[in-house]
Amino acid sequence: MITLYIARRVGEALLTLVAVGFAAFLLLHLMPYNVAAILAGPTASPAEVAQVAAAIGQNLPLPVQFVRWLGQLVSGGLYQTAARAMPTLELLALGSGLAMILALGLGWVQVRYPDSLLDRVAASLAFVLYTLPSFWIGFILIYFFAIDLLWLPAQGPSLNPSSQHQWFLYMILPVVTLALTTIATWSTSVRAAVEESLRSDYVRTARAKGASERLVFRRHVLRNALLPLITTAGMSLPSLFNNVIAIEWLFSMQGLGSGLIDSLTSFDYGTAVDLVFVIGAVTVLGSFAADLLYLLADPRIQYR
């Protein structure tokens, strides 16, 4: 049953990936310029342009070209974009990790001490942060921690940081910015899950056994709140990525998002389409990983 489910999810993920790739590939062909003419150079005659077009396979049917492009992507393009992908993946991983911790904490406070000052302040702050553009949150952090207090650098890490320590220092502000943009939605899902599990039988049993309230929360409530949080995190990956693009740009990081912007503004459409495919792959694989994690974490689900 589980293998069937995994197989189906792999199939779905692959289908989405191919759809994303095909859309990106089609865009490459809609582009308002002739690749062959550019490759042949400004002085080339029409015959030479036609020769170049034949050499790079422009005359082949579109599906054949698509398969060839996929092959090129897998053999070379992905390798080139992998260097770009690392900072983005680090930012995503650390940011969502921090957001999970904050969301668990906030959701826990909201259920444990409802209507307290802490609850109200934290909840309304999370709501405000949720509505603000990510670059505005990032800027406020830069303004106070980098310009005013001079505690942290105003940029993200470079591709070759001189030390681990330096990398970490440069990573703090981008990661915090990314986490802040998403804690509102994530803590809402944590709160709902915590409220639900507090009403459940296993919590009543645990309390009846005499487990301390702290133990009940740590072992029974928070663990079960993690499950819906994983789903929420997986689903909000695309919107997280929207913010990653703005954050990379704001903090001048060399990631996938800023790479896409750079290649688009410098008319390097080939690289742009490769990057689009990699970004699509990251989000599709991310939600796939979230599904798998859920599957590992909750043995009760029914698989279809």
């Binding site: 859309a23 603000l132 505005w136 800027f139 929207n242 703005a246 998002g257 989000t283």
Partner: protein, 344 residues
């Protein structure tokens, strides 16, 4: 107008005498809030009768309750006030202060003046008055936000309705399409298309709308599936409502609350997405708007010119917060029970 036995009215076709056969349907609108089943008169022959008025009454009664809850909600007034302020600031402001001509002129001698009585928000690197720029800079994000939201909402409603009615194959195809759209970071296709077709406002609005509909389509589809087999829909169908009329007069009014709620979050999302694309250098074309002002003045902050960046950021915050507050107020007005539970 004939009055039924339970006090509610049924509209009878003009050519039908009241004395003809009358059947009583029990109709419950079947929305989230439990409502008492209501008696609706249907005159036979069914194909000529209309049940419209009675169920519309019920909808109107619920709408009235929602509106009453809404206007008592402080967040509604806070959000509405903030939005009205921004609209007045961006569209009346330039007229009142006749800023457009003079004050945004480039005058490098006036560069980086801090806020003062003559320049309330100071000046930027080119000596342009920040306040005047702020006023005109709000027009593009607000207008494009409303237009793109409108188009995306229509698209989403249409696709959701089709998907809800299409049945097996069509539904799963449309939902797969929705899933694919939802699994791609929206900014990426927008950046790509915007760069390809030379950034213009029209292209941006169309592309943003084309990538924003999935959330709305999902909600409308879910509500359609929940509502389409309820008695009132069958009654409407039996009484001769068909096609578009059945959808627009009978189905859509019953999910209007969800649609409006989804539209507020759609607006916030659209504005946010356009702000991000514009901030990174593509997106909305010149003349300036809040996002380009924010991006262009960023470097100046390191030189101490904080007044050039905070106003556009705060303006974005007010715009997005106002719509979110309106949506939150509407959500709580629609589910007063739930809102009370949450507060407890």
């Amino acid at each position: 107008m004939p009055v039924g036995p339970f006090g509610c009215r049924a509209m009878v076709g003009p050519e039908l005498p009241l004395s003809c056969n009358i059947e009583v349907f029990r109709v419950c609108l079947g929305d989230r809030t439990p409502c008492p089943a209501m008696e609706v008169l249907v005159t036979l022959p069914l194909s000529k009768a209309r049940v419209g008025l009675a169920e519309e009454r019920q909808i109107r009664g619920r709408t009235g309750r929602t509106v009453r809850h809404l206007i008592r909600h402080p967040l509604f007034w806070l959000g509405g006030g903030m939005l009205c302020f921004l609209l007045a600031f961006s569209f009346l402001g330039p007229l009142l202060f006749s800023y457009r001509a003079g004050e945004t002129a480039i005058d490098v001698a006036q560069q980086f003046l801090p806020p003062s009585p003559s320049h309330l928000l100071g000046t930027n690197v080119l000596g342009q008055d920040e306040l005047a720029q702020m006023m005109i800079g709000g027009q593009a994000p607000i207008i494009t936000g409303f237009v793109a939201t409108f188009v995306a909402a229509l698209l989403g409603i249409a696709i959701g309705l089709v998907s809800g009615f299409a049945g097996d194959v069509g539904d799963s195809f449309l939902m797969r399409l929705t899933d694919i759209f939802l699994s791609i970071p929206q900014v990426v296709p927008i950046l790509l298309l915007d760069a390809l077709f030379q950034a213009s406002t029209e292209v941006l609005v169309i592309v943003v709308a084309l990538t924003s509909w999935p959330a709305m389509a999902r909600i409308v589809r879910a509500r359609t599936l929940a509502l389409r087999h309820l008695p009132f829909m069958e009654a409407a169908h039996a009484s001769g409502a068909k096609g578009l009329r059945l959808l627009l007069r009978h189905l859509v009014p019953n999910m209007l609350d969800d649609i409006i709620l989804a539209t507020t979050s759609l607006f916030a999302n659209v504005v946010l997405i356009m702000a991000i694309t514009t901030f990174v250098g593509l997106g909305l074309p010149p003349p300036w708007n809040w996002a380009t002002m924010f991006a262009a003045n960023l470097a100046g902050v390191f030189g101490g010119q904080w007044w050039t960046v905070f106003p556009p950021g705060i303006a974005f915050a007010i715009l997005l917060l106002s719509v979110s507050y309106l949506g939150e107020a509407l959500r709580q007005a629609l589910n007063p029970q739930q809102a009370r539970e949450v507060r407890q």
